[in-house]
Symmetry: none
Subunit: 403 residues, 2 copies
């Protein structure tokens, strides 16, 4: 894990520009036909040139064998050990759908469930009610008003929603109301700390009003809440690393995580890689560090579509020259985690890393950007949390330690 | 970090000989013309043969992106985590110019500064007064006598000097007198711990007498002191690792750091690699472990002279057979840090490592000693602090752990 105090002590000012380009779910697995991964099968002349000029390696998001969710995977890339500094599930669910979570707010993950006539849970996920049926129900819940606090609710997908309470004197030390079993009713809202008594009362009140509104429903006639948490007050990225840090991302989750660590979130017109690079160019002079997030490789990986994931990577490669025209001093291209299309899900596999810094990067013998080349690359396998100090060093922003 | 207690528990006696050959600043960056580093461009037939017979890798001095000073870099190679066990800046400055620092001594870094008529600092570095002007001034200060303590002072270069106070009841818990600003006078000497009151008084007295002696100077008419510290009482290298340990080095800094951890410092007649290997041969039977330090690759790297750094490495390679004739059982060739001639300074880049142990080293497929080969070497990237246990193991000096 990056030693924040040490890094902060060693900072020196600079005018260099760092870009962390994250291709979500970049890492893959080889296909049968020719043993190439999605990245290796993709035609990526620009990334291959950068690979020849720079150094390759692999980032390990959490640790060997550990598959990260999107939140922890990004925190790790930003230098925060997501195991030592966990962010609550409620917070991640809320920011993942674009809800803001401030310090002192209470965020929770909500599940619709099915209750029998005695109020006992018969299905903890309300038969995974389709999104198009669930969304209007959530819309109804957004009308609930409380005394002394505001309540925001937003649909996630199927039976899932996020809830954020805001008001004075709140505390997130609340126990889950999901009993993790059927045949029993949802648990009452209980404070695990006396400081959260008032919050418990408010959440109970919200739950009671919501239950009223769900009374007529067939499947989604009940709900449970889990993962109560608040903004974990992480050390601020711009302060730790001494950079004006901007986030160029389209999806709420990534904008949310960036905001959580104190990056400024930039507006993007459109959703394509080119649109994001154009947004980066627009604000280029105002930032020292840009985190640019590209979602599509992960989405196509989760679809299980090898060809589409490779095509998504090719689309990024075609747009890349416009980013390079901005002349970053240090560019890292990597993923937050692997999403092999064969697995249709995130995985624990190390993630290809390309470090390009014309003045200070060593060259290894690798000629292309791909899993095989990265596994033999000059940087070796490194914890994702080690990336930030490396980028700062290449950007000339760290002093020598000791005489 | 090496677990000293564990290593010590596992020690077994032996007659094997270990040599740690440190080519200061060994690591480099590729030049434009043919993408070769200094080490790769150098003709090193002997090191290349050892590379074929041994295993290559990279040592990481402090951590990703962290550039070490000479002191921390060597402590790390000796197995001591220099961040967890910091050595004070005053101590490093003093031993760097050959002053001895014993437990309880107070060492400090001194700067000449320029004061205006009101005694306010106008230049914190006395216009970087040339060494030939500053040295005689330091000489004058060496005449200062104190009651109850001795004071040794030695010039470093330009405006810098080192001061060591020795006597009963001293304590280094003193605050810097450098206000890190101009327009204000130097700060008085203040104890940060009551135990250091007496030391504060003595240093004040020394400062007052020094100020008298500087009165006539134009630029160096004042001084500040920083980094007050004492011998950190590090665990003794010969005890931790169970070896009679000798240091063969010419420059004061490296002799000083070796002495600090309890190595015996050997006298060397001359300054060339051959002179050092000859000195090693002379005391060969008396030691189990020799740290041999060769300075020139770093000096030429700091000069920014690629060819001269490569030539310095070639000179070492030519002398190497005379070291091999002594028949070490284990030989590690590495650097304390990288000093790419393009950067003219220390850097954070991992450092080439060659581990040669004819009986126990695995062979990898590498054919030459260079950054590219080491990045693909069988040992991978390893923290420099992991090197000592590896050398002991190859020397047959560590028992099995557990039944």
């Amino acid at each position: 894990m990056a030693n924040f105090d040490l890094i902060h002590d060693l900072l020196k000012p600079g005018t260099s520009k760092i870009v962390l380009l994250v291709l979500d779910g970049l890492g893959g697995l080889p296909r049968q036909s020719d043993s190439k991964t999605e990245l290796e099968a993709a035609r990526t002349p620009t990334m291959d040139r950068l690979a020849r000029e720079g150094t390759l390696g692999m980032t390990i998001p959490l640790g060997p064998g550990l598959t990260p969710g999107s939140g922890p995977a990004h925190l790790s890339l930003f230098g925060y050990d997501p195991i030592a500094r966990p962010v609550g599930r409620g917070v991640l669910e809320a920011i993942g759908v674009g809800l803001e979570v401030r310090r002192g707010d209470v965020a929770a993950r909500g599940n619709f469930c099915t209750l029998d006539e005695q109020g006992r849970i018969t299905d903890r996920r309300a038969a995974r009610i389709p999104t198009e049926q669930a969304a209007p129900i959530v819309q109804r819940l957004s009308g609930i008003r409380l005394e002394g606090a505001s309540a925001e609710v937003r649909h996630v997908r199927e039976h899932r929603f996020a809830l954020v309470l805001r008001g004075p004197g709140l505390d997130a030390s609340l126990e889950d109301t999901d009993p993790q079993a059927t045949g029993v009713p949802p648990l009452p809202v209980r404070a695990s700390d006396p400081a959260a008594e008032r919050s418990a009362k408010l959440v109970s009140e919200w739950t009671a009003k919501a239950s009223e509104l769900l009374r007529g429903e067939k499947t989604a006639n009940g709900l449970t809440l889990r993962g109560f948490s608040t903004d974990p007050a992480l050390p601020r990225f711009p302060e730790i690393f001494g950079v004006r840090a901007g986030c160029v991302a389209v999806y709420p989750m990534y904008r949310g995580v960036a905001a959580l660590v104190g990056m400024t979130v930039i507006d993007v017109a459109g959703e394509s890689p080119q649109d994001e690079f154009t947004a980066a160019g627009r604000i280029w002079t105002d930032y020292d560090f840009l985190f640019i997030h590209l979602k599509k490789p992960d989405s196509r990986g989760e679809d299980g579509d090898f060809e589409a994931k490779a095509a998504a990577i090719e689309e990024i490669d075609r747009a890349l020259p416009s980013l390079l025209e901005l002349e970053p001093d240090v560019l890292a291209i990597t993923g937050d985690h692997s999403t092999p299309s064969q697995m249709r899900s995130h995985s624990w596999h190390p993630v290809p890393l390309l470090l390009w810094a014309p003045k200070t990067a060593r060259r290894d013998s690798q000629q292309t950007f791909g899993e095989g080349a990265c596994a033999s690359g000059g940087l070796g396998n490194l914890p994702a949390t080690d990336l930030m100090p490396l980028l700062l060093a290449h950007a000339g922003r760290l002093e020598k330690y000791g005489a």
